[in-house]
Amino acid sequence: MEEKVKDIDTDEQQEYIINIGPQHPSTHGVMRLVVSLKGETVKNVEPHLGYIHRGIEKMCESLTYQQIIHLTDRMDYLAAHMNNEVVCLAVEKALEIEIPDRVKVIRTLMSELTRIQSHELFWASYGMDLGGQTCYFYGLRDREMVLDIFEETTGGRMIVSYNCPGGVMYDLHPNFQKRVKEFLKHFRKVLPEYDDILTNNVIFHERTVGIGPLSLNEAISYGITGPSGRASGFSCDVRKHEPYSAYDRVKFNEVLYAEGDAFHRYLARVEEMRESMNIIDQLIDNIPEGPYAVKMKPVIRLPEGEYYQRVETPRGELGVFIISDGNKTPYRVHFRTPNFANLSVLNHLVKGFKIADLISIFGSLDFVIPDIDR
């Protein structure tokens, strides 16, 4: 009697499924990627979220508007200042209060310093992901100078909690201008070294050029914002299109590329550091005098209604949606975080590339995992 030999050559049975994460150094946090492989080629990537979900949106519903600020620090900890700012701007918009010029300039300066330190960490960790250990040390060395500036003025290094509705918590430290100028002088000197080490490196080129290309239409339909979107030519800079704080009085270029591969996503971030330095240059010498905060009532009650405000973080567009029912706590708070939207494109980008390119593509999108889970 002859048995029928089972056909095992179907595609499905040849797929090999491995987990990357939740504790994998290249995921920069607790993120689990379930990768289906055929040989070395990636067939499908399924991100599993929620390992550090803390329910920040729900917690916000039981806190007053001043208390929400410190929670938003913990979403995207590399852009803590922008996360604070977006809630403050939304509250100020709802209450229709005019904030002093000094506050606007301070917020802009702090935002741009935050952007530089975030992109520095991206540069450092992306280099390390692709096998350049030295990048990590050089990136962190220069980032430390920015963190010192933050610590001197705000008291915190990463988790600054510097904004409050109506202004900022404390005035700038007297050393602030001096330190920022020192940092800019140092950073202008070392940025060409960054190019020598990583940007022009031949191994880095081999690993990134042409890897994970994203077209303009795809970037728009997936909602990819920030440098990742701008590398595909998607003009999505909130600072340009809907200026908040002091962005309407500074001149800067929106870094746009057409290629949209991993290398250009990287390049967009390095160029943005240069643009950020230009913005700081324009503002640092003319910080207006005046109060650093508007006197607010101890209990803030927003008028009944819905409010939306968006800002540009180093990773893309961050929006906050507040529904108020007139109480001292919000009825509902929702954050439109850039990382969550950017993650949606991962499967599309990685399909068909090798598993080593997965690390390259994942790194080039610059994820901060707590911002995805929040």
Partner: protein
């Protein structure tokens, strides 16, 4: 022929880009002035923290063991996660009136998120941040601190 030339050119340019990067690293390797590493546990005695760093919340006392805290409880209301508990008691003053004073100002360092709201909102500036940052202890109970020192009093002139 052309492909061979391109191949050799790629090798040459590749090696050059590697050497360029190596030049930067070797320059830092041989220049001791560029060392930025702080030898932390060894330099504890000379380590100066920046004045505004948020180490922990303290209640400054003067030489006479007096503080500014009136026990109003605004810090407790403003704390987002209940790290502060103000326990007050009522005493009889010399002129026969009843007065509310602070008994214990309990601060749970273990759950503090250093948002700075208590220090900022205190109406009588009774709280401040110290720059002490070495908080590691073996017993969790040591992280629950009583900020007012035993036997301390409200400073005269601070409005109730």
């Amino acid at each position: 022929m052309r492909s061979i030339i391109n191949y050799l050119k790629d090798i040459f340019l590749g090696v050059r880009s590697l050497l360029k990067g190596m030049k930067v690293t070797s320059r830092y390797f041989w220049s001791p002035r560029s060392i930025v590493t702080e030898k932390y546990p060894e330099n504890r005695k000379t380590l100066v923290m920046l004045e505004r760093s948020k180490g922990e919340v303290i209640m400054p006392h003067n030489d006479k063991n007096e503080h500014h805290c009136t026990g109003c409880g605004i810090c407790q209301i403003n704390c987002p996660n209940g790290s502060i508990e103000v326990i007050s008691k009522i005493i009889d003053t010399e002129d026969g009136k009843k007065k509310k004073i602070i008994d214990k100002h309990i601060y749970k360092l273990g759950q503090c998120t250093f948002c700075g709201l208590c220090v900022k909102t205190c109406p009588s500036n009774a709280l401040a941040f110290s720059t002490k940052f070495e908080h590691a202890v073996f017993n969790k109970a040591l992280l629950i601190k009583v900020l007012n020192k035993p036997g301390s009093q409200l400073m005269k002139g601070v409005e109730q």
